[in-house]
Every structure is written in structure tokens, then in C-alpha cells.
């Protein structure tokens, strides 16, 4: 399946991918409204790492054998057999953090106040995930590897 990969050599750390993710998963789908009025604001579902001049995004890999699904005690994490997308159902999530403990990419985001996690859904069938589309210099790509 197509997955999101980062190219650290060309990432400039603008974090537009995070903003695109937040907006995509907002109520209004409008950047200004999302950031000004939406409470709680959605969290970005990728992780932008930064260290000196080095920056890159880490995204969910929608693993073939997803450990987050294996360890989920609430059945909130499901691998969609057809699309391959690892989906998370926040309704069912109890915030046990087991998936946070086991995801080797560290891309499951905690929302401590809500006692829920949040993760990438590949923008639910969008042809191009919002983060990839927003990247000004193609430092994240969506492709088959």
C-alpha cells in the first residue's frame, strides 16, 4: 500500500504538514477558524522532529502487522483489511496508552485530558493525505515502497 515517508534532507521544518493535519481533522476544515475557535483543537497526527538544522516528519506506517492493533484492549484500533489503513475509533478508546507504549515509530499521539489517543487515518480515503499535499518542497511523499 501507499505510505507516507519523509525526506529529512529536504525538510525545512515549516510544520505546514502539522497545520494541514489539524485542519483536515477539524470541524470547519478552515485553518483560521480551526485555530481561533475550535476547542479542543485537533492534534496533529504526525510528529515533526527537530534538532538543530535537522527536521523531518514521522508518520504512521499503517503496518502490515500493526502492534497497536495487537495491544489494544478496547478494540479501538483496527486494521482495515481492504485499504490497509490502521484506523482508530476514539469512541472506544479508554486511554490505556498501550499503543503509545508499543508503536515503534512513536506516532500515536496522546490527548491526556480526553484520555484518548489520536492517530493518522491517511485522511480517510483522500487521494493525497493533507500533510503531503501541504508540504511545500515534497519533504513528505505518499508512495508505494
Amino acid at each position: 500500500m501507499k505510505r507516507v515517508y519523509a525526506k529529512e534532507d529536504v525538510c525545512i521544518g515549516c510544520r505546514l504538514c502539522e497545520i494541514a493535519c489539524v485542519v483536515e481533522h477539524s470541524e470547519s476544515k478552515n485553518a483560521i477558524r480551526t485555530y481561533k475557535t475550535e476547542v479542543p483543537r485537533p492534534v496533529a497526527r504526525n510528529v515533526v522532529e527537530e534538532r538543530g538544522p535537522l527536521t523531518f516528519s514521522v508518520n504512521c506506517r499503517h503496518c502490515d502487522e500493526p502492534l497497536c492493533v495487537a495491544v489494544c484492549i478496547a478494540g479501538a484500533m483496527v486494521k482495515d483489511e481492504e485499504s490497509g489503513v490502521v484506523r482508530h475509533n476514539e469512541e472506544k478508546c479508554v486511554g490505556c496508552w498501550s499503543c503509545v507504549m508499543i508503536c515503534p515509530y512513536g506516532v500515536i499521539k496522546m490527548k491526556p485530558a480526553a484520555k484518548k489517543v489520536s492517530k493518522c487515518d491517511l485522511c480517510n480515503g483522500r487521494t493525497m493525505p493533507a500533510c503531503v499535499q501541504a508540504c511545500p518542497n515534497r519533504a513528505i511523499v505518499y508512495e508505494e515502497r
Binding site: 505510505r3 519523509a6 527537530e50 506506517r61 500493526p66 479508554v94 512513536g106 496522546m110 491526556p112
Partner: protein, 420 residues
């Protein structure tokens, strides 16, 4: 080839999913003593505390078994295994024939003999029925004594406290969470639980349960102190529920011994989950590790191999993620190193409820304890299970913000290039 699974917990569900990945057609039968379809066992704490309702505890779709062609025999206790005739005899007198068998009978609470321990109002806390039984306490009982300050005991204490019951935890060791966590983590959690109002008594045990007209009135501790209570929860630990293999020739130690394919000493018979003693990735030997991730993954690999996939399991790593009143904690791998052969580094800020410890052996990460800040803990788990040499970035592992940017480019790129 008829697949039969004894048990219906995480290992059994992993096995069904593993079997069906390879073999869509062969009959699969589950024999389960509990009368419920699979439920998230750790969620009994959420249920008792009132955070979820019973419908939320069932973690697979309503049609899970039906959709996979699994025959479900609920409320049927397996009495014995006839290895020669390849069948499981049930207590009801029925028998189920198998081609391949998985024993996933889980663990049972260890209950020591205590004076006054026979009779009503003694509870354990490992099953949905236990949670339902404890449901009867709020409103009827003012105080409860929990024997055992491990994960199960503390979750029972927390749930009962949330329901307005005054709880005293009595722990034999000099700290709570002594097996899965370490002193510093135990201290932070202990402090938090006390702040909330849960009483904790260390280095002590219950000598006697005092009854009047059969009803529990108090417990007497070894030092003679008396604590009034109306019920007692025993949560000292779980032991493998392996009685079913007695006399079968299936080899056991603490648990039922299983190899890398999760097969027991008898070909065609597999074991997984809390009942199994199977290879541990870090220890290089077999152990009983009664935790959900191991149970599910062992079950899954048992299932794959039962269906003929010839896919050995690399072995599990002990790990626990558990939160106590806003303080998340994670322990993984060897959290209490047994000897001098390990290097331990830690940052401990008890006032901020923060703690981060890493355990190294031969420049490999083999254990970690995280309290307060656990985000991206899985990156450490990945280094541990990947047996990554961390020599060049050992110091970085202590940083709460640790991530791929903290690793040298070659290490980082290798991990991020892999799909799993």
C-alpha cells in the same frame, strides 16, 4: 484440520485471527469456561469504576466469531485433554475432537490460606464476573481491604475508591508495584494514591480476617494492627491455569512450556497467553509473562503455526502501561536488573512526578521505566525489540523528548526505512 482453542481471552482472539489469516476454511472451535464473548480483561477496572458500561468491554465486533466461522462453546469448562484420542473432554460430558489444539486458559488468582478466608465477601479481580460481584459493594460496604499492591490490587483499589469506598491496600514488600516497576516509580504512584485518599500499608500482610456471624468485620495484620472492613479483595498475583494438562505428558514448569512456534512438548498442541511459559526476547529463556501484548501475540503466532505458516515468534518483552490518577506509567523489559551486569541510568524528579530510567546491557537497551512522561515510549520499545546497538546515543535515551532525531543518521534511517 479442526482447530480447537481452550480459552477466550486475548491469546484465543489472537489465535483465531492468526489461523484465519492462513486458513479460511478449517473448523475452529472455542471452549470457554466464562459465559462471555471476548472482553478486554483490563477493562474490568474501568467498568467497576463506572468509566465504561458493560457493552464497551467487548472489544471485537458482535459478529466476530460468526464472520470467521468460529464455533463458540461458552460456559463450558474443559475438564481434560485426551492426547491419544485427540479430544478435549468437557465437564458437561461433551467431547470436542481436535486436529490442532491451543491451550489458552490464562491465569488464576493465587489465594493463600488465611484464617477467616473461607466464606463470603472475599473477592478476586481478574474476570468480568469479579467486577460484577464487586459491583454489589458500593452502598453496602464502607471499607475494603485489598491484599496486594501490584497492578491488579491497585486497579481494584482505584476502582473501588472511585465508587466511594474507603480502601486500604496491604502490601508485603516495602513498596508497591514491586514486580513490574521499581522503587522510584512505586514511590511516585504511592504518593499519588495517598493524596487521592487510598490508604497504603507496606511490609505487612493479613494474618486473619475477623468475622462476626459470618460477616467480615476487620482484618488483623501481622504486626497486630486491626483494620475495619466489610470485604477483602485478594490480589497477590496470578498463576498459570495449567491444571488441565496434568497427566497428559505435556511438559510444564511454572507454566506450560512452549517453543518458538508456541507448540508444547506434544506435537499439535500449542499454548499461549498467561498459561504459557514461552521464550522471552531479552532474557534468552522462557518465562511466564501474564500481560496482554504477549498473550495476543503468542496467540497470534500459535494460530499462524497451527494453520501451517511455520512462522516462529521472536519472543515477547514484558511491558505494562498503566495510569494512576493522571500519572501515566510504562515499564518495559528488565525494569529491575538482577545483577551487576547491567548499566542503569535514571532521571528522578519526584516533586514533578517525573521519572525516566533506562537499563542497558552490552550497549543494548533491555529495560525502561517511565513515569509522568510516556509519549513516544514505543520508540524505546522498538530499540529494545530490534536489539539496536545504542552505544553512540545512550545519554539521549534519558531525554523525555527522545526520538529519531536523537539517533545517529544511519540508525535512524535504517529504522525509518523499514515497513513492518
Amino acid at each position: 484440520m479442526e482447530h480447537v482453542i481452550i480459552g477466550n481471552g486475548a491469546a484465543a482472539i489472537g489465535a483465531v485471527e492468526g489461523i484465519r489469516e492462513i486458513d479460511k476454511a478449517s473448523p475452529v472451535t472455542i471452549v470457554s469456561a466464562e459465559p462471555y464473548r471476548a472482553y478486554g480483561r483490563p477493562l474490568i477496572a474501568n467498568l467497576l469504576s463506572g468509566k465504561i458500561v458493560e457493552a464497551d468491554i467487548y472489544y471485537r465486533a458482535d459478529d466476530f466469531y460468526e464472520a470467521r466461522g468460529v464455533k463458540l462453546l461458552l460456559g463450558e469448562k474443559a475438564a481434560r485433554i485426551d492426547v491419544e484420542k485427540k479430544r478435549v473432554v468437557l465437564e458437561s460430558g461433551k467431547a470436542v475432537s481436535f486436529g490442532r489444539l491451543l491451550i489458552a486458559t490464562g491465569g488464576i488468582p493465587f489465594i493463600p490460606p488465611i484464617k477467616g478466608g473461607e466464606g463470603s465477601s472475599i473477592y478476586t479481580f481478574t474476570t468480568l464476573d469479579d467486577a460484577k460481584n464487586l459491583e454489589a459493594l458500593p452502598g453496602k460496604v464502607e471499607r475494603v481491604v485489598v491484599i496486594g499492591g501490584g497492578l491488579i490490587g491497585l486497579k481494584a483499589a482505584e476502582s473501588l475508591h472511585d465508587r466511594g469506598i474507603k480502601v486500604t491496600v496491604v502490601e508485603l514488600a516495602d513498596r508497591i508495584l514491586s514486580s513490574a516497576f521499581d522503587r522510584e516509580a512505586g514511590d511516585i504512584v504511592e504518593k499519588r494514591l495517598k493524596e487521592i485518599g487510598i490508604e497504603i500499608v507496606l511490609e505487612n500482610s493479613v494474618k486473619e480476617i475477623v468475622r462476626a456471624k459470618g460477616r467480615i468485620k476487620a482484618v488483623i495484620l501481622n504486626n497486630g494492627e486491626q483494620y475495619e472492613c466489610g470485604a477483602v479483595v485478594i490480589a497477590i498475583g496470578v498463576i498459570p491455569n495449567k491444571a488441565i494438562v496434568e497427566g497428559t505428558g505435556i511438559m510444564t514448569n511454572r507454566g506450560i512450556l512452549a517453543d518458538g512456534n508456541m507448540q508444547t512438548s506434544v506435537p499439535g498442541i500449542y499454548a499461549a497467553g498467561d498459561v504459557a511459559e514461552a521464550p522471552d526476547l531479552l532474557l534468552g529463556q522462557k518465562r511466564v509473562a501474564p500481560i496482554w501484548p504477549n498473550a495476543y501475540l503468542q496467540g497470534r503466532y500459535a494460530g499462524l503455526n497451527m494453520a501451517g505458516a511455520k512462522k516462529p515468534y521472536r519472543g515477547g518483552v514484558a511491558m505494562n502501561s498503566i495510569e494512576f490518577y493522571g500519572i501515566p506509567t510504562v515499564s518495559m523489559g528488565i525494569s529491575n536488573p538482577p545483577d551487576e551486569g547491567y548499566v542503569v541510568r535514571a532521571v528522578y524528579e519526584p516533586k514533578k512526578n517525573l521519572y525516566r530510567k533506562i537499563v542497558l546491557k552490552g550497549h543494548r537497551l533491555v529495560g525502561a521505566v517511565l513515569v509522568g512522561q510516556i509519549q513516544r515510549a514505543g520508540v524505546l520499545t522498538g530499540l529494545m525489540t530490534g536489539r539496536t546497538n545504542v552505544e553512540s546515543f545512550e545519554e539521549e535515551l534519558l531525554n523525555g523528548e527522545f526520538g529519531f532525531a536523537s539517533m545517529p543518521p544511519d540508525v535512524r534511517k535504517k529504522i525509518l526505512a523499514e515497513n513492518r
